[in-house]
Amino acid sequence: MNHDSRPQRWNSVSGIPLKSFYSAEDIPAEHRRVMDASPGAAPFHRGAYPTGYRTKAWRIFQLSGFGKPEDENARIKFLLANGETGFLMEHDRNTGDHCYNVDHPDVLARREDVGLTGAVMQSVRDIAICMDGLPIESTYGHAGGAVVQHAPFALAGYWTVAKRRGIDLRTLAGTGQSDFFLTYLGCVTKQQIPTPAGLRFNADIMEFCSKHLPRWVPVSIAGYNGADSGLNAYQELGALFANAVEYLDEIKRRGSMPMEEAARGCGGVSFRMSMDIIEEACKLRAARLMWTQLLERRYGITNPKVANLRIHCVTAGSMMTWQQPLNNIVRGTLMALAGVLGGVQSLGVSGYDEALSIPSEHAHQMSVRIQQVLQNETNLCAVTDPLGGSYYVETLTAQLVERAWQFFEEIEQQGGFLATLDSGWLHARAAENQHAEFMAQDSGERVVVGVTDFREDISPYAVDGFMGVDDAFEVALARLEEVRRTRGERRAGDALRELERVCRGSENIMPAMMEALDADVTLGEVGDVWRDVFGDWNTPIQT
């Protein structure tokens, strides 16, 4: 399709009308007043830290994992050797997301897929294998547990392995996730604890870290999953802060830790980076501004060590095409650039083969190389907030903030973030956008190179798609049986009973989880307790 014959409607991807050029008068007065603040100072839109990448380049932080725990261990070491500066431990999703062991009928029916989207870890022993030889004291690790009901297991397992190595948990840095967007919006599992139980889990994790792991980021709200399910830029922003409010209000209600600490605990978030480069960079500036406003207006917090939102970005996997996959290297680079221009603290770039499968070694290496090129060859690290002061960027940042707060208000009016998940309202918003996007692609309004247009491909080699290893299931089954055979059955039984008791009451679940992991309790047994005590979330959508 000819570029000239496209309909002439110029909006940002989120629908904000764009002028053909901007000037000073376009910047809203209210924003003009705060525009010139420095990076590292309120309202932080220019950057979380004053010296930015000069002092500390963004962390190269790739999602990784498949197969047996030792396969994931190898891939993480490969990535670290190639230059990533933090690691993400992805647990197999068939088992982890549902807290099933591999012998659960629903897992057995898909046994080939076990170990495809993460390593199978059913006990602390598996987690130890996965972490073997990883420099967890000096390298920032993400323990996995992206899904809310899985997080306590993943975190307790990681921390137990650390303890066994003689590491003082008070010094251990790293992050959890336990993300509502993924769990209840983007990737709705077959069974899940209801949202109120999820909120309880996350508040418990935040409290536990406050007491025992002060350097650990307990939870990370991942707007990425909201965006990838269809929410646009300002909806992603508004919903993310509505999610944060749920955590903060719960802590406030409990009165169990200082609010500043709670804010710091959920002040490490993630956003998706997609293809509208400027809008996406503005989204991060808007996010930092909104966090400052939220903390001050709602909680009276102005401490700059708390009000500076720290952001991780992942480039949009859904933008990767299976047609002409090498084009995805360009896409990954551009989306990464958006994150860098927006001032991210850490960045994961999707593999160029993501539309086909999980990343091959080469695709993973490429994701790291892209970031290394950006860090070392472009001089981008020299100046913080390079887009600051641009008439367009400042106007768009302000417009995103305005629309995001409106969306936030719509959510609050319905009773808050959890209510909009339970009712399916948020899913409906996401679906509307997805539908419109499909229509735009069908009508020719949206061009995707290699897919809708420019389809000739003379690439010298095909990208086949990496499907992991073949023996993840068998080995996992054997190890499960071994755990059952060799563990102290009394201690495991006691630990499970204690876990159940705590769940039925209102004590913090994490001490019981730590004991359970140490006692070789398995993932499926933990899941059985969840199902028994909390029941099943009533999904508002049909999958």
Partner: protein, 318 residues
């Protein structure tokens, strides 16, 4: 029908336990027309033991699918086979529908003692209730002792469908005082059991008062159970199942069930006659006789009522 298998052969196979044949019969019932009429006769002649047909309805969002799924669990724990007809609305614009009740019942997904069938309303006047009644009769003829008719909504159609059941369960949520007051379609008069689902929320006591106030004037209103549940956690569901069994037994013992069934037959007969009449009228109006009368009226040679009587005579004569 697709393969040309004679209806009575399918019927025998279905009664013999063949699920595929039963499924095909339900499609016949849904489609209506001559085949459905013949199927109806086969069911009548089969003299199968009576099933217990329970209507479950409530406004969207009440959690009635979750409740139905939980009730399935209760039935199965007693080794009772149970069938579900789950009805969802068709799009008035396109005629299509998304039917999603099975997802809620995934625990019963391969249980031989459960039969779930999703039906779309298909926007027909009265046709849905007829199709559902016939579907229930087919299941009954095939030996299913419990049949749950699950509809969404508290409007006219849902009341009509529910009226085809022996007993109606209405599912509400706390804080629905307005819906109860509105009672547009008379659901408050039809309900035999009320369930306040999502009872972990605020407003349960007030809702209970609203319900009791609305049914106070009904004969036997004080005996109507109002049961609290949190269906997602299975709380209170056993109580609902026990109440269903108890109410059904009471209706039977008192002779009220027989009265209702007689009334149901009368209502269905009227509905069937009306449907058939509507079809005949549509054909007549679109045909030569109808066009002729219209022309006469347009030309001033006849009045509307005169024309109507002439056409009516034509129907009666044929």
């Amino acid at each position: 029908m697709s393969t040309g298998t004679p209806l009575h052969v399918l019927f025998d196979r279905a009664r013999g336990g063949e699920r595929g044949a039963l499924a095909r019969l339900l499609s016949v019932a849904e489609a209506g027309g001559e085949d459905a009429a013949a199927l109806d006769s086969l069911c009548a002649a089969s003299a199968a033991p009576r099933a217990r047909t329970i209507g479950i309805t409530g406004a969207p969002g009440a959690g009635k699918s979750t409740l139905t799924a939980a009730l399935l669990g209760c039935a199965r724990r007693e080794s009772q086979p149970v069938a579900v007809l789950a009805i969802d609305p068709s799009s008035p614009l396109t005629g299509g529908a998304i039917l999603g009740d099975r997802v809620r019942m995934h625990h019963a997904a391969v249980d031989e003692g459960v039969f779930i069938r999703s039906l779309a309303s298909r926007g027909q006047q009265g046709g849905l209730a007829q199709a559902t009644s016939l579907g229930a009769r087919v299941l009954e003829a095939c030996g299913w002792p419990w049949i749950l008719l699950e509809t969404v909504g508290i409007g006219q159609v849902e009341v009509e469908i529910s009226g085809r059941a022996d007993l109606v369960v209405v599912v509400l949520n706390p804080g629905w005082g307005d819906e109860i007051q509105a009672n547009k379609a008379g659901l408050m008069e039809v309900a035999d059991i009320f369930v306040i689902n999502k009872a972990d929320r605020d407003g349960v006591a007030q809702t209970r008062r609203d319900i009791e106030g609305a049914i106070a004037a009904r004969p036997g209103g004080a005996e109507i159970p109002v049961i609290e549940t949190v269906a997602t956690r299975g709380e209170g569901v056993e109580g609902v199942w026990a109440a269903i069994a108890a109410r059904h037994a009471a209706l039977e013992a008192s002779g009220l069930l027989a009265t209702r069934r007689r009334g149901r037959i009368a209502a269905e007969l009227e509905s069937a006659v009306m449907s058939a009449l509507r079809r005949r009228v549509a054909v007549l109006l679109a045909g030569d006789a109808g066009l002729r009368e219209r022309a006469r009226i347009e030309a001033g040679a006849s009045g509307i009522h005169e024309g109507a009587r002439a056409l009516l005579d034509a129907i009666v004569r044929d």
